[in-house]
Symmetry: C2
Subunit: 254 residues, 2 copies
């Protein structure tokens, strides 16, 4: 082991110290993470390897890791190992047709939703075309802002074909989820979606909502959602505050 290696065995464990050995180990790991030597998604060696490197028992290593998992600094993924946690939220919306609210809930992240606008409107021309609607028809427009820990992370603008969801404007989408309502209340079978990701400069409206400077880079996502019978049901524009929320894909080669 050389001093330049990012290992936790670069100094011997102090068996005479008043601090328990497992606490010495967790403190070392905590420091590696704090110094950025072990970045987000860094995978730690296995418990037996760490135990052998340090000359301690596996149980001691397990206890040290458990402390850090409880603190939210490490995360264990079955069959893959122990990883340094990312400090930003990482929904997997690039990969599965889940919604941000579902991803937040699955990760145990608390979020607030505020409804900025809701109502039946004439669809903008490109939205009408993508939803197979006449522009003389109406769509249900829903503009929402999602925040976590008091900070805005996403601005969502949805357009839903109103002919398929009579009375939808009576729901309170500060509490209810849009996809949940479409599926649960209206019995619509959501099948597929097409999501396109790009980086955009924040317009005045987006900048104000996400509390970033006008022109700041924001992650933009455009989506068209189709029912299982192929009819388009929903179009959305989503702007994401990239510093607080990064979209992630775990991909397989074969």
């Amino acid at each position: 082991m050389t001093g330049s290696e990012p290992t936790i065995a670069d100094a011997a464990i102090n068996r005479e110290a008043p601090v328990a050995i497992h606490a010495q180990i967790s403190e070392r790991i905590r420091n590696r993470i704090a110094r950025g030597e072990w970045p987000a998604h860094y995978r730690l060696k296995s418990e037996p390897e760490i135990a052998a490197d340090l000359g301690v028992s596996r149980g001691t290593v397990r206890r040290a890791l458990a402390t850090l998992i409880e603190e939210g600094l490490l995360r264990q993924v079955r069959g893959r190992g122990t990883f340094v946690t990312s400090m930003t939220f990482e929904p997997s919306i690039a990969q599965r047709l889940s919604t941000l609210s579902e991803d937040f809930s699955a990760q145990g992240i608390l979020f607030d939703t505020s409804v900025l606008f809701h109502g039946l409107v004439a669809p903008p021309q490109p939205v009408a075309a993508l939803l197979d609607l006449p522009v003389s028809g109406t769509v249900f427009q829903l503009d929402r802002l999602r925040s976590t820990g008091g900070s805005a992370v996403t601005l969502l603008g949805n357009f839903v074909r109103s002919d398929l969801v009579p009375g939808i404007d009576d729901f309170d989408f500060a509490g209810a989820s849009l996809f949940g309502t479409l599926e649960g209340h209206y019995g619509l079978k959501i099948g597929t979606a097409r999501r396109t990701f790009s980086a955009e400069a924040a317009t005045e409206a987006v900048a104000e909502a996400l509390a970033v400077p006008v022109g700041a880079p924001v992650q933009y996502l455009q989506q068209v959602t189709y029912l299982t019978d192929g009819r388009p049901i929903e179009y959305s524009d989503v702007w994401i505050q990239s510093e607080r929320l990064k979209v992630t894909s775990l991909l397989s080669r074969r």
Copy 2:
């Protein structure tokens, strides 16, 4: 049919005109697309529906569509229908562990690769950690610029564990693909990757490479690739010119 509906049957086909009927139909569709009334990804009605709307034969419709497919304005997807083509390239790298060069090739897009830097270097600290390497080790660094039609679309910075790829610096990556070389020449079994997407402001180096203003929003993608045995093999930073290339996912709900 009202004049405000985005249909192609808003004026009667002129059967006396010197222009063939199929050419009149393709010209109408061309105009819809040019005016933005039928945006990228808009799905056209089926051939029988269009034929009925216009009072022409299916064969005439098919001929009109064939012209536009040849011009690259429409695209037919088996089992899904006929769509307006996107004028930007849309790789599905958010969804599959394909590489940009594979996606370009699959879509028949010609691209040029220029190698900006290659060589064995000491890994930056976070890269070393993510690749399970000592910083005293070396990685193969490869910086490339991909262009299509003479315009830069992506700047790629790869770091490969050099211990697993002896002699890799002798390859000419202006022609060879990196993943192809890892798999084909070195017999490495690439298993999974983790890709994270965010919007970033172009740094001076990125701006110069992609020919955008400093601070302009660029799509940033960070990737760590693992072999099937779980060892990390490659880390990369990718910056994408969002106006010319949009990352796409086709997702299923169940």
